[in-house]
Symmetry: C2
Subunit: 440 residues, 2 copies
């Protein structure tokens, strides 16, 4: 069960090693060839839903670099999300914002609106505008800079995007570009889906959370005071450009938050990836670009595989929400923006794992491994102390996975890498989990 | 060129005859068999866009009535909108709200939210709830009653729908039902498209405007202070139920407003239908149910034919917007709700026709016929006097049909029933039209 590409001796870092040391040590050579199992042989899982044949195409094609003069330019890794005529590529690599041709091939029309926030704009807006316009004088770029944080993912902030688009007289041939984390991607995507009933859309995720999860798959939307992501659209981008450079400026909390989703993929469907993470967490915390490129690629491959089979969350796709039902309750109940999304998901994952264990569906050792890896990733393993059983129950009652009044949950079942999406569980186990993790 | 189903001698009404007299006279027998040309032989038009083969299926199937005990029950006319796996039927006829099986076959899940307004609710909400629940005890119905008028077609009002849905804990298997005119249909449709990223949706249009146009084809949305329908989605309903009974309670102005869209179909693509209207306008003004059923059916067939070929307005569908670019400027500039949509479209149609004539694309007689039929329908033939050239220009600059800065218009060209959608016209003609119809 050892990782298939990374010799164990390369993984003997202590967690106390400094980021700088780790980065310099290059334990994993930057040009290592990643021998990743072909999509057809991705570890199979029991989902409790009928799985169609995997349709993920992981492109081995290297995109031609048309500006050889730039020394940093390197062909990106490409993961293709296969959705028929709405298919699109995810480009992954370092320095991709310095390769204008990657973005420009996906711009139709002459007008672009970059949607970003007050944190990201000073760091990456100019570079993004350059990437959009270098050698492309016909394109003009507008930008709208929103306040930063989940608490602003609401209708009021969304209207600022529409205001800017209309004031700028953007027409149907314009392109909206989301430059930021998950909140920006979700809001910009929903704005793109709705402006003039739909315009082109590109994702440039700048946080781990957005790079490994929220920018891929077309879920967009905003929060309602009573529930997270209650208003939105399934709307696919033209491309996702994942430049790993912005990870260097990402706060530690944001980094950890994203790792919660990386860990999720391992737990629900990719045991081998989980084991790789157990070994390589120190490298990820040290922001090693090669390790991160691999983690992002493998996360995107897992997500693309699921989304290709179940774009609109008929069943399989819901499994990507492990820990999210409990986590959304934390975000809504504790106040949007108080905890980062991934922090809430981490606590929610522990709760889902606890419940799975109470149901007798997983053994003790898996519970321990989950606790351990989340602690390693510096993520919480329990919800805020102010959460009550009643808060969980009332917020979870409006979860999108409720069907005809029944709350369906993603729970682990069987060996590592297997989960179910089900409403068929003993209610007692849920009650016990809620009582164990919150005040009554 | 005479109407193919209605003998001319049946049309000798004077426009001063009272509605009551006309209604009683039954000039067209209620059970007349409408010999309408098969869809494949709908009058062909030049659109300035490449037309695919017509894919409209006009179903000759009569829907089985499963409650023969109800004396009013009569199989509805069915027009099918052919959009692959998003196809849906339009049921047209009198007393359809008294045939619960028509609606109930399209309800999935157990929860329904009826969205209606303060005018329609006292008249038809109870009947609609009965139609949804009679013999169907598993279904529970919530309702939200919005203020009536185009001036409320905005984000603030839309949020009331989301509030109600979330407070009622409606889940993804719920159905939203739009009961009302075009404003309700547009808002409820956009809410259905966005709530939990999309739930089932049914249209019950109660105005001529909604029955012949806005309820069919999946365009949904709200206005922005700077432009009409700027925020929305293409989102198709499960079915459209057109009961002609509510026309009896429709104010005269609303009736006339809807006729503007009926007239449009004739002008852009169906000369024979236009000629029928020239002959039968008195019957329509008298709300003759048989004449109206025919006008609605033929309008829906025209719309379904266009939408089936071009769902997302790549080109052909834009032709349905004859008069709308000028008309939207009137609605936005004069204030939402000051003029009804169809009144603004009527004035806009006269302006589009004037411009087509200045370009030398249509002859004098067609200009006269347009004026005459609009006057017959009691519709305005010029915009409000307060509109200025500058107001038109600034509002039209943000029209959805602007592409890369160029305003494309729907203009008549050639004999009756032919139009083009084009940005290739002499700007001088547009300027002259604007000056002729508004203050400088």
């Amino acid at each position: 069960m050892a990782s298939s590409f990374c010799p164990k001796q390369a993984l003997s870092f202590t967690s106390s090693a400094s980021a700088h040391q780790l980065h310099q040590s290059r334990a994993i050579p930057r040009d290592i060839h990643v021998r990743f199992p072909a999509s057809g042989s991705l570890p199979s899982s029991r989902y409790g839903v009928k799985s169609k044949a995997a349709r993920l195409k992981v492109s081995a094609t290297k995109v031609m670099d048309q500006s050889p003069s730039k020394s940093r330019s390197k062909a990106p890794t490409v993961v293709e999300v296969d959705l028929g005529n709405r298919s699109y590529p995810i480009y992954i690599g370092a320095g991709l914002l310095d390769q204008p041709e990657l973005l420009q091939r996906h711009i139709h029309g002459k007008r672009v609106l970059v949607v970003t926030n007050t944190t990201v704009a000073p760091l990456y807006l100019d570079r993004t505008i350059s990437a959009l316009t270098d050698g492309n004088p016909n394109v003009t770029v507008e930008s709208v800079i929103l306040p930063d944080g989940e608490q602003f993912k609401n209708m009021e902030t969304l209207m600022k995007v529409f205001d800017k688009a209309i004031e700028s007289r953007l027409d149907r041939r314009c392109t909206f570009v989301a430059l930021g984390g998950g909140v920006i991607g979700d809001m910009c995507g929903y704005a793109a889906a709705s402006y003039l009933r739909g315009v082109n859309f590109i994702q440039i995720p700048t946080t781990v959370m957005a790079q490994v999860d929220s920018s891929v798959g077309g879920k967009t939307g905003i929060n309602h005071p009573l529930g997270k992501n209650m208003i939105g659209a399934f709307y696919q981008p033209q491309c996702v450009l994942v430049d790993t450079d912005p990870l260097t400026t990402l706060p530690d909390k944001e980094l950890a938050s994203g790792l919660a989703e990386v860990i999720k993929y391992g737990l629900i469907r990719d045991a081998e990836f989980f084991e790789w993470q157990e070994q390589n967490m120190p490298l990820l915390l040290a922001r090693d670009p090669t390790a991160f490129t691999y983690a992002i690629k493998r996360s995107c491959e897992n997500k693309a595989d699921v989304v290709s089979q179940d774009e609109k969350e008929g069943g399989l796709r819901a499994t990507l929400n492990l820990g999210h039902t409990f986590g959304h309750a934390v975000e809504t109940g504790f106040g949007y923006g108080q905890w980062l999304h991934g922090e809430a998901v981490a606590a929610g994952t522990v709760m889902a794992v606890d419940m799975s264990h109470r149901l007798g569906w997983i053994d003790d050792s898996l519970v321990e491994r989950v606790h351990k890896i989340l602690q390693q990733a510096k993520l919480p393993t329990s919800p805020p102390e102010t959460m009550t059983v009643e808060m969980f129950k009332s917020i979870m009652a409006v979860d999108k996975k409720v069907a005809d009044g029944k709350l369906r949950l993603i729970l682990l079942k069987g060996p590592l890498g297997n989960c179910v999406f089900t409403g068929d569980y003993d209610q007692k186990a849920l009650d016990e989990t809620l009582r164990a993790f919150s005040k009554s």
